[in-house]
Symmetry: C2
């Protein structure tokens, strides 16, 4: 028997992405986003939703680009911090102890210590309500070689990514193979 459980908090796994931008004076900022995901295959695009009050909101509109930096469990403290406070009035990067450098293809910072980064060019801005959704075309994905398998793909066991679901939680073992386990029903 199901029952209505209200609309907050949303009760299922969500991504934990750190969005990197520069402000008008070239200062880097990072903001943790969970309202985010992939939204298109060709071109490959991601969306991140941001409240207009956030420093990141102004920065994305200013530079028309952003980076997405994927944290591992080792950096859960820094990742949580990036979601707790605004970069308007403090240097979150310095405080975090992490270091950044400018992206290769866009005017946005990427986090050196995080093992996977994406560079995205803003292609659409959708006003919804409390949040504005920014859709970015992924121009490049770079990963630490140590997290790749022998085929050059990210090894999910080595990656150490986590999701948000009543806490930050790691990724567990395989329960089935996509485009495979369902074939017996076809």
């Amino acid at each position: 028997m199901k029952k209505s459980i209200g609309l907050h908090p949303l009760p299922f796994p969500a991504p934990v992405w750190v969005v990197g931008t520069y402000d008008g004076e070239g200062r880097p900022d990072m903001m943790t986003a969970a309202w985010a995901g992939v939204c298109c295959s060709e071109p490959p695009c991601v969306s991140v939703s941001v409240r207009p009050s956030r420093h990141t909101y102004d920065n994305i509109i200013l530079n028309e680009c952003f980076s997405v930096n994927l944290p591992t469990a080792r950096y859960v403290r820094e990742t949580d911090y990036f979601g707790l406070v605004s970069g308007r009035d403090r240097d979150k990067i310095e405080k975090s102890g992490l270091s950044v450098k400018k992206g290769r293809l866009i005017n946005a910072p990427v986090i050196r210590e995080f093992p996977l980064v994406m560079e995205c060019r803003l292609i659409r801005q959708v006003e919804i309500g409390s949040h504005t959704e920014f859709i970015g075309e992924i121009l490049d994905i770079r990963a630490e070689e140590g997290m790749l398998d022998s085929d050059g793909a990210v090894d999910s066991e080595k990656a150490g990514f986590f999701v948000l679901f009543s806490g930050y939680r790691g990724i567990d073992s395989l329960v089935g193979d996509p485009y495979s386990v369902g074939k017996e029903l076809v």
Copy 2:
């Protein structure tokens, strides 16, 4: 040292949601989506991206609503099947062995056996490229009582949800508490 790893497949955890719709003759259909996520808090909204070739695409536009059904590992086979074939020329529900009923608030089917369902009203349609993003306002979330904790919230350990990340993978143990673990850096 990071290296570019190409843009396919996208190398990080994505949701696995089953999107429910009726077609013009009232036949229920289900499609598995991974390009999906939350995109706004107030009103609470989700987005699901669908190729125009899919039966679900026509159905969402026709009814201006859709359900989101969250599978557990027990139903990984049925979930994979819903992503493998089109509902244009076959009854995927019957073949899956699952059962559906009409949503309470919208004209879209929900899966009885899945423990968590959301009913969504279409509020925006964004053409991106290969995929169209449908943004739906969440009108109701219902969950099986057996997956709730003593506060009435979904218990992540009991839930059994999984994500897509080089395979369908379960959710592991806690690595940190949100809005808490980062406070020492504030």
